[in-house]
Assembly symmetry: C2
Homo-oligomer: 213 residues x 2
């Protein structure tokens, strides 16, 4: 294995430790054991726990971006902005095993970042980039007439991002994936109500089937 | 100090450790040091780290409930269900120092609970109770004509709860409290649109001032 492959193998070992034993157990020592390397070998790749976490978070973000890219390619071209937003949201939520791993990583990272300036910077950048991407899509959809021009793009962006708030509810099985998808579709149906003549205001649930297909 | 007071003093020491150094440092040993007691004394009150965390989480939930009770008493009587929902959301979000402490505790607790069956049960119960309370308020508001009868109470409940998704955005200062309040008010204004004749559909922002007052 080359340097990068070894780092990725260690990141995967970290994920397994976090997934099985939780975040507090994810020390350099424990991850070295899981990766089958000595502590000294692991420190050759990551000098500190923070450096290891940051790299693991980057890997998780890359994997999410890959899933989004594949999802975008599978949509009708050019994709409708509503379908793009639905895809972004569903890939950020813990709805399947792969997105759950990234989502758990991300939640734990935010909790850690509150007490670590280095992690904080990366976590903040990730969230800011995500919000900026959603805002661009919404502003574009307003310009293109998919969203009514009297909607405030900042507020609508925040309301879309807020839907990632389903994360703890899904993780703790307070709601199921079907309910989360129904709520996301309801919200997007209401958002993408352009001129009153072009779409019905309420009750267009076609998107539920599309997301579940 | 009696037994209960000592336990609460230890819970406060735990919060200080979590707040200053993060969750991974919140071991029995570190909390004993912060509380100014020996490890043995601390274990007299909490046999395990999990028991300590669970108690600290209960204290945080009690404090949130106290803030909500005081907030409810300060509303016009009987309170409008929209004001009640706004109060619940703003007390659950990290908008001020006191709600931030409970919110951080809660986020970290969920992250830990994913790997600990005992914590999981309590965390799940807390979220379920919170969701059930919001659902009752929404069903009642539909019955009383404050919310249009064609709204789906389950979906509307989940969409209101989703607004707690502002937590990481506020914690990492990606959005500010004013933006979170504006989005919450926008969502509630749209939800509490009963018969078209009774309220304007969009743009009634009076609630922003009420929440900031």
């Amino acid at each position: 294995m080359d340097h990068q492959e070894r780092r990725e193998a260690i990141a995967h070992a970290l994920w397994r430790v976090v997934d099985q034993h939780g975040w507090t157990r994810a020390t350099l020592r424990e991850v070295a054991r899981e990766a089958g390397v000595s502590l000294g070998q692991l420190q050759h790749y990551f000098a500190t726990r923070e450096a290891m976490l940051t790299f693991a978070m980057e890997c998780a973000a890359d994997r999410t971006a890959d899933r989004v890219t594949r999802g975008l390619a599978a949509l009708d071209q050019p994709p409708h902005p509503k379908d793009v937003l639905r895809l972004l949201l569903t890939e950020m939520l813990p709805l399947r095993a792969d997105s759950r791993a990234s989502s758990r990583m991300s939640a734990a990272y935010v909790v850690e970042a509150l007490h670590d300036p280095e992690l904080l910077e990366q976590a903040t950048r990730g969230l800011r980039d995500g919000r900026a991407m959603v805002e661009r899509l919404i502003r574009q959809a307003i310009t293109q007439g998919h969203i009514a021009p009297d909607r405030d793009p900042d507020i609508e962006t925040d309301l879309v991002i807020a839907l990632t708030g389903f994360t703890p509810l899904l993780e703790l099985e307070v709601i199921d994936p079907r309910a989360a998808l129904a709520a996301i579709n309801q919200h997007l149906d209401r958002l993408f109500t352009a001129a009153p003549s072009s779409r019905p205001e309420i009750g267009s649930h076609g998107g539920v089937r599309a997301a579940e297909a």
